[in-house]
């Protein structure tokens, strides 16, 4: 730790090229028209195309898996009673099960292309209607917890990076690792035991009292905390690393050498640069939140898509399972596309030559 200033100045002098590069990254560049926009459009077209391919692959794989499923869906439907062959034929015909698998696959793909996700097995309620009833509830949890955890992660990560290797950073980073290691459905159970059962402050299950329409806020608190914590930890860790890297860049030395206050340099230069990788991470995190809602909704009896999904799997409700996965996949693909666009917009370096950012895994 001897003479950090001297080494930093030395480094800054040695990398004058990078300083200009960094200054370029920080200043607002006029968005060029013409070629870059076209490059962006071509890039988005490619991404869109590969998204569609991916969706088809997902549907195909799941369709095959569900074809392989052992057990008789009819017996699941009518319960454990013997049924006559005639009735069986009739049910088969009703749901189109008498056709060979490939024919049903083609019919289904055709339907999906026209936006028809089929009907739920047994009840004959359209899948899109079932999903439509539930998706609002899932988003009512997922979006606030995504926003809260992102803001929290940026703040906590920045503080930890700024106070690195001191007790506050140790505390924050340590808590992040701990929260990251928590099975978050268990955290939900513990929160129920503590706040609902022992203290009696908050309700345990559902989204509102029985018979009440809509969502009540006190029912949302525990599920929100449960959902947000692991994502908060995941993003805070990345934010901290990104911020440390950003603080160590030469443009920070430049900012200091031109007499900028530490705090101002942090806000003006370090934070925007540190936020760049967070765009990609946020996209990834949103898909974590959506997938994780299966567990959280199970813990809190929250009537969203996750509960619908578990029920559909248990009942072997093929079209409902497929429908939910399709909706989820399309949502995630859209999120990825938006992430790509936002990344291209916020990073001036990428406005000229658009490349697909590398996504990082947790």
């Amino acid at each position: 730790m001897h003479g950090p200033v001297a080494t930093e100045v030395g480094r800054a002098a040695g990398h004058s090229k990078e300083i200009s590069h960094a200054a370029h990254a920080c200043s607002t560049v006029e968005p060029e028209r013409g070629r870059p926009m076209k490059a962006m459009a071509v890039h988005l077209g490619k991404v869109l195309f590969s998204s569609v391919i991916l969706l088809v692959v997902v549907i195909t794989i799941l369709f095959l898996l569900l074809e392989l499923a052992p057990g008789d869906p009819i017996q699941t439907l009518v319960g454990d009673v013997p049924i006559s062959d005639a009735l069986r034929e009739q049910i088969y015909a009703t749901f189109g099960l008498d056709k060979p698998a490939w024919e049903r696959y083609l019919i289904y793909m055709g339907n999906v292309l026209t936006g028809n996700l089929g009907v739920s097995f047994g009840t004959e309620v359209p899948v899109s209607q079932l999903i439509g009833e539930r998706i609002g509830n899932t988003l009512a949890l997922a979006i606030p917890s995504f926003i809260l955890s992102t803001i929290g992660a940026v703040v906590i990560g920045s503080i930890a990076a700024k106070t690195r290797k001191r007790w506050l950073d140790t505390l924050l980073s340590g808590s992040a690792v701990a929260l990251f290691s928590l099975p978050n459905f268990w955290l939900g159970l513990m929160l129920i035991i503590l706040f609902s059962i022992t203290l009696g402050w908050l309700p345990t299950q559902g989204k509102a009292p029985y018979g009440v329409e809509g969502i009540e806020v006190q029912y949302m608190i525990l599920p929100l905390i449960t959902m947000a914590t692991s994502e908060l930890a995941f993003k805070a860790r990345i934010m901290r690393a990104s911020m440390i890297e950003s603080l160590g860049q030469d443009f920070m030395d430049t900012a200091r050498s031109k007499g900028m206050a530490d705090r101002a340099a942090l806000w003006r230069h370090a934070l925007p640069n540190a936020l760049l990788p967070m765009v990609t991470v946020a996209g990834l995190s949103l898909s974590h939140v959506l997938a994780g809602s299966v567990l959280v909704e199970r813990v809190f009896g929250w009537p969203g898509m996750g509960l619908l999904f578990i029920g559909a799997i248990e009942r072997q409700d093929t079209f409902l399972v497929l429908g939910i996965v399709i909706v989820l996949t399309v949502t995630i693909l859209i999120v990825n596309l938006v992430t790509d666009i936002v990344y291209g917009l916020v990073d001036p370096r990428l406005r000229s030559r658009v490349t697909r950012p590398v996504r990082s895994e947790p």
Partner: protein, 304 residues
């Protein structure tokens, strides 16, 4: 200690003893990676905890009696006789939690092992040779990035059956691309380096270069990723079995939590202990992985 051993031949000043001594043992390197690793305070805490839990899970059920015996009173809170209480059927919960540990840990380690094996083969070949295999690997890992693993695993486990082996396979299928991507990136980087080039010039078979130089040198980040995979697999398995998808005959920690949920308002200990075990084990593994990362790449994450 090492200093004493090194300085002894000189201080003895016995010329006839010196020649046989010198080649006998290489001087200890105090900066060897594993030594740096075991010196870290976090490792010294996390490793014993992990070892104790693993040993307790493996040996424990033999000492605590039959975890399936229902001859105890029901719903006894933790006390001296039953350290973790008893469950709704009057089974000793300590035995059941330790049994659950066997399953969870087995799944975690075997998934990580499978992922490592597949990732080294596929990632190594893809990164070193490029070409079609590389394109396919990139596409597969993009696929698994888009589809959340838990969704795929839920459907697959519900359909293909949920015995232990199947769960391990399904989790490995959803998790290996994460490790393989790191192997691929490292193999790509290393295959450009001078020592690989000089081996090519020396006429070695490319597979031999891959085996003897590329893969060993790719190991550091891959090992860290594999360690993290153990933790992620344990978490994923607990999530699946919490949703009721797991081996019914061998309840893991997640399955115990699933069974505990209906009694949560009366028997808090049923929900507390299995989750606490998951938390401690996953935390210990994550800390060990972080420390491994620090030991292997001392420059990363260090304050300048």
């Amino acid at each position: 200690m090492s200093v004493q051993q090194l300085s002894r031949p000189a201080s003895d000043a016995a010329p006839e003893a010196a020649p046989p001594r010198r080649p006998a043992r290489r001087p200890r390197n105090p900066d060897a990676i594993w030594r740096v690793y075991f010196r870290k305070p976090l490792v010294r805490i996390a490793l014993p905890i992990l070892v104790v839990i693993v040993l307790a899970s493996v040996i424990g059920p033999m000492l605590t009696g039959d975890p399936f015996a229902t001859n105890h009173p029901t719903f006894v809170p933790p006390n001296a006789e039953y350290p973790l209480g008893t469950d709704n059927l009057g089974r000793d919960y300590l035995g059941r939690v330790l049994m659950g540990g066997q399953v969870s840990l087995l799944v975690g380690f075997s998934v990580a092992f499978l992922c490592l094996t597949v990732a080294l083969v596929v990632g190594g070949l893809a990164g070193f040779y490029g070409g079609v295999l590389d394109t396919v690997l990139v596409k597969i890992s993009e696929f698994f990035q888009v589809i959340p693993g838990i969704v795929l695993a839920l459907v697959a486990a519900a359909i293909l059956g949920s015995n232990l082996a199947m769960i391990v396979i399904i989790l490995s299928v959803t998790m290996w691309p994460g490790v393989a991507r790191i192997v691929r990136a490292e193999a790509m980087r290393i295959s450009q380096l001078g020592y690989v080039e000089s081996q090519r010039a020396a006429g070695f078979l490319s597979l031999r270069i891959l085996w003897s130089d590329v893969l060993p040198n790719a190991m550091p980040p891959v090992l860290v990723a594999t360690t993290m995979t153990v933790a992620r697999a344990i978490l994923a398995e607990s999530g699946l079995s919490f949703l009721g998808i797991g081996d019914a005959n061998r309840p893991s920690w997640g399955a115990l939590l699933n069974q505990a949920q209906p009694y949560i308002s009366t028997a808090w200990w049923l929900a507390l202990f299995p989750g606490l075990c998951i938390f401690i084990v996953v935390l210990a593994i994550n800390l060990l992985g972080d420390a491994l990362n620090d030991a292997l790449n001392p420059s990363i994450g260090r304050v300048k």
